[in-house]
Symmetry: C2
Subunit: 791 residues, 2 copies
Amino acid sequence: MPNDTSMTTAPAAAKVPTASLPETVVGSRAARKEDQRLLSGAGNFGHDMQRPRMTHARVIRSGVAHGRIINIDIAEAKALPGVVDVVTAQDLPDMPRIPVRIQVQEVDLDDYLQPVLAFDEVRYVGEPVAVVLAEDAYVAEDAAELVVVEIDELPVTLDTTAVDDGADVTIAADFSMGFGAVADAFTAAHHVTELTFDIGRHSAVPMEPRTLVVDPVALDTLEIFGSTKVPVFNRRVLSDMLELDEQKIHMHAVDAGGGFGVRGEFYPEDFLIPWLARRAKRPVSWAEDRAEHLVAVNHSRQQRHKLSVAMAKDGTILGLKADVIHDNGAYARTHGIIVPELTIAMLPGPYRIPAYDGHVRVALSNKTPCGTYRAPGRFEGTSSREQLFDKAAAEVGIDRVEFRRRNLLTAHEMPHERPMSTLGTDVILDEGDFLELFNKTLDRASELGWQDEVRRGRSEGRVMGLGIATFLEKSGLGPNDTADVEITRRGRVRVYSGGTSLGQGIETALAQVAADVLPVGMDQIDVINGDTAEQPFGTGSWASRSTVVTGSAVHQACKKVAARLIELAGRMLGHTPDELVINGSTVQSRLDPNQRKTFAEIVAASMPGSIYLHEDEPSGIRVRHRFTVDHMTYPYGTHVCLVEIHPETGQVEVRRYLVAYEIGVAVNPMMIEGQLRGGIAQGIGGSLLEEFTYDEAGQPQSTTFMDYLMPTACEIPDMELLISANFPASTNPLGVRGAGEGGLTAAGGCLASGVRDALCNGDPAAVDIIKLPITPAYVARYLNRHAKDRR
Amino acid sequence: MPNDTSMTTAPAAAKVPTASLPETVVGSRAARKEDQRLLSGAGNFGHDMQRPRMTHARVIRSGVAHGRIINIDIAEAKALPGVVDVVTAQDLPDMPRIPVRIQVQEVDLDDYLQPVLAFDEVRYVGEPVAVVLAEDAYVAEDAAELVVVEIDELPVTLDTTAVDDGADVTIAADFSMGFGAVADAFTAAHHVTELTFDIGRHSAVPMEPRTLVVDPVALDTLEIFGSTKVPVFNRRVLSDMLELDEQKIHMHAVDAGGGFGVRGEFYPEDFLIPWLARRAKRPVSWAEDRAEHLVAVNHSRQQRHKLSVAMAKDGTILGLKADVIHDNGAYARTHGIIVPELTIAMLPGPYRIPAYDGHVRVALSNKTPCGTYRAPGRFEGTSSREQLFDKAAAEVGIDRVEFRRRNLLTAHEMPHERPMSTLGTDVILDEGDFLELFNKTLDRASELGWQDEVRRGRSEGRVMGLGIATFLEKSGLGPNDTADVEITRRGRVRVYSGGTSLGQGIETALAQVAADVLPVGMDQIDVINGDTAEQPFGTGSWASRSTVVTGSAVHQACKKVAARLIELAGRMLGHTPDELVINGSTVQSRLDPNQRKTFAEIVAASMPGSIYLHEDEPSGIRVRHRFTVDHMTYPYGTHVCLVEIHPETGQVEVRRYLVAYEIGVAVNPMMIEGQLRGGIAQGIGGSLLEEFTYDEAGQPQSTTFMDYLMPTACEIPDMELLISANFPASTNPLGVRGAGEGGLTAAGGCLASGVRDALCNGDPAAVDIIKLPITPAYVARYLNRHAKDRR
């Protein structure tokens, strides 16, 4: 697997590389196959689908955070002309609640699963209680307003951290993991640093909210458009709920701009819309509006971390403890407990930690239920840990960079096993040199003159700081994915992947992987993602796993296809397979290149009735391969940022941002840069701006973009990227590590570090950042103190 | 494969059998799975499909039988509001003409293939010359009338038999087959009987004309609804013409009431409508009207047969000669020359013929091109041969029944090889006893008192006669078909067959075949036909081959599935496969029935990640099997009818009809009865009523149902059926022989025999029937002579 393994620095503006062409398509900055469609307006988005006699659904949601449903009066709504149907939980069949997708740590969440419609109690504002179906979306909205939901209000739980003060908070799960003699480490410590850190509730807000179009009549299957992340899982859940063969449910691929976890797995609407369509025997279209989106989709991130680190005199870490309260909102949704599980499993990060104890309580509150958001658990853990270590370094009197250098793992310590499990896999850090990349990153920041820039700024009286955070990621979660690869009668290649297209460029990445084994050229390869009919064993796209796991499945399926092409060509040409070689879209003799058969000719020879096809062999050339992997692979990196705080407002301006990331093998450096840049922007949003807040009654306060603040282009600085491909992963045949999350993982830690550095103004122990987002109001408190100190 | 192999007589009105239940589902009168859908109005017909922004196509056809196109003025049509597009051959891409589907006898028809739109010359009235696309069907028809087609008329060829008088007729193919010393046989003969017999031009006229709906935009494939007979072949042809991967073309299954050949394979519209849809980037709907149907679809049957039979003194046949002129209309369509080829290959029929010579000329005329119609070639051959043998018996002074008894093949002469080939297969008659079934049929007619009824009638002065004809059919044409069988996660069975549903009950028949291997019950089996995505290697439904070839593929795929279920259950239960047995929808231990796993549990154990699934094994339980067969199987039978001629009008009234048929194994006796009854009705139509006629300019005279006469319920008598299942076929594992055509094959011969018998009035040599249909005008001629003779 040849690849450009040299360290490359990608400048802020993408440039066309002048280097000689790579020998492989993997590694090239191939143009994205999906862009022609997307840029020409030919993208196929969920809500584009129109069907004759299509009806429109509107979900009626609880306006009360906690209460008992007394009555839902649908009579007036039903009577409105144009209304097709109005349903409440009374109308639903008997069926299971929405199940958890990945069961881990043997935690039973059955009592906390969400029903598709609330039937006796509502537990958060936004919980679905009824659905209206009407001839058009306007009538549906009007009718929804005529549904009278009578609710007896009950007391609300909003602050789950109050459980430590004895408040009555439901704990849905309580578990620990760790290793080493933690108590001994803390006893023996020269110094212990403690930090309580709160990560604010926020989530991804894709431009296109969730949409579903379901057609139960046009074909003999229930056609569903809009499922984006794990269509095969969603089909399975729906099949169970509807008691309908999965084969009668066809999830079609759609384009979707952004997944990030929030588009989710199986939401209540994923049952309600198909069920209503079958009930009405008419197509149904549904799209949430922005206000709905902000209360209905999975929230994420909200956790309190109580951390403590035990150190030797020289700052060497002896032990680490983390006590996490996860505010999961009202119900356990499909992610189950993987966010808090990942938090504590990954919290030790890239450091040499001899003893560790992580403890989590998953608490329920009367807020929107939670799920995953890009870099789940790692963003939270890295944010708090890196601030803890900045504080620890200050407390033991060591420079924060030096503190990290002493404690980061290096190549000769790999593989590094941590006797814990997460997502059902053992934590074994594979190849890498965390210290080396950390050093290179800081060298790069020096080259760019950022330290000097801060110094200069401060000398001019500006409040500036440099943030530094280093992180460990994970990717390539198994246990498997399945890919089909087919050669068409015209000699083209078709890849039917188990992944889904979320804007991440999976069509391009998988085509590149295929093009190295079947070198027909990128324009001769079609990649089909997210179609349950074409790939019924697909595992979807999430957790930075598609390039690793799906890509490996594609790679191996292509190899099988290549072998089959050679086998059949051998029969046609009278050669043994080892005498033949693939060249472009032909198989030819190694000795006499005129002895050749095109892929198209070979496919024709594989058709039923061909004299070259043996009786017991399958017709055509389409191979399915299931790639299985036991362990994850662990990419890593370092973030450096330069922030300036505006004293008048408390606003944090991010002036420079550098991400260094070890990718193993870069399938498409351009797309990796895109992933990292987008991650940085989301990280800035989550660290400085975005937060779902509630009033004392549990009423959400962030239901518009006036209140839920997203970064705009103005908030996003020039970015520097340092993509390293020095440690190809040994866990997969491509050597790749996932690239989906590393731009975001350390953003909270890095920005907190930068703000701390700015506010400390040379006194490293002056200020601890104890929460995200770092809002102007929060910063202003320290600025006031700062100002007072200066007076 | 247990089956009721006893001789059964089905009465005119179906009755529920009182016999004990059969041990197998095959052999039972299972209710048709398709009927609930069809009878409740939930059938999915081609034209039912509605798509947003759908346009409507109208084909403009030549009004001239032969001429040179001078100009086609589309300006006015294009200007009509609501017109989307108007195209002529000028607009077409460069591409091949519509190819022949089955190439036989090494005949090259390239010069005679039909273009999708006429570009320089028109060759029949009805030939497509342009297409209009409009917002609705009304505008499309209006616009079509505004297209001005200027044509210079050329001389027409209408009577292809004039070739023997030296007329200039294009002969597209000229070939012979036969065996034995024919010249010697005729030299040695005691007597030679000759007959020239014309079969009239007619075809099937299904209630629903051809329809197509093509959607090029809703999904990422070209979705096509309306292809019914050979969707995989049609997809391949379209793929070649559009230069588009087959995988991007999805032929969906539709319900269709009646195939019979006429719905065809690839017609010009099968290119034009998809191509227009892609050009317009909008869905297109097209349906031919009745007048169009009667000039646009394949005509069939029109042949002149010059036959002669050489006999010994006792009527033993020594040799047979057939010289056939096939009027193929203006172009060679997809059937190529298989109708005339089958005519001469099958003409010797069930008789012992020591020497045979068959010669065919395929002539072109300025009439609608021809194709297959139910029992192609056999209807024509049997009609003429049986009349020849009636005449021969009369001429040598032997009773026509006795004549046949002396010459029919019997069981001890089987297999009977005729050194000829048809449809690419050698003619080897397999099991059977043609004489035995002939005798039983006549015994049955006697039991029913038909001979007495004729005698009684004649004594009352009525003109009555008994028709007798015996025939050989063929079915189970290979070379292969492919079926997939899948077990769903709910434990249900899904069959993805290569056949198509044309009303013949294939869903039911294949479910019965599956139910004997996977005994989950008929309601737990879904059969999917005619979907190119689900079964890309399907060969379609035609030539009475689906139950034989597709059924065998299903049977063997089910056996593989059963073996896989047992293998996995063995792993789960810790048993070897031979310790286990399938019972209902479970696999259980032979010794301890409590040791069991349901199909659903076994499927769950086959999913990716299962501990029971080996690394290199495919996930799920779906097996594809290709059944291959070299030889056809030959069913056979005898028809007997009782006709009365009304002297005032010449009308032939069919008062009684009996068909005896050897089916090998009857999968569903009820459906076989339906097939035979429908065949009789079509046979009566083709023999007495239906004919496409032309005036001297080549203008079709039968373009409405006022002129093209179909039989109604009044013309159809009570029918008696005698289904024999005494000779299971050895060429397939089910032992079945096709049942699609035998109700029709001998109808022409039998009715001609009956009319002859009626008109002869005791003098067997008085009248020869020399043409079909036997119209009142034709009969009246003989009646007049009759009356004269009597005077």
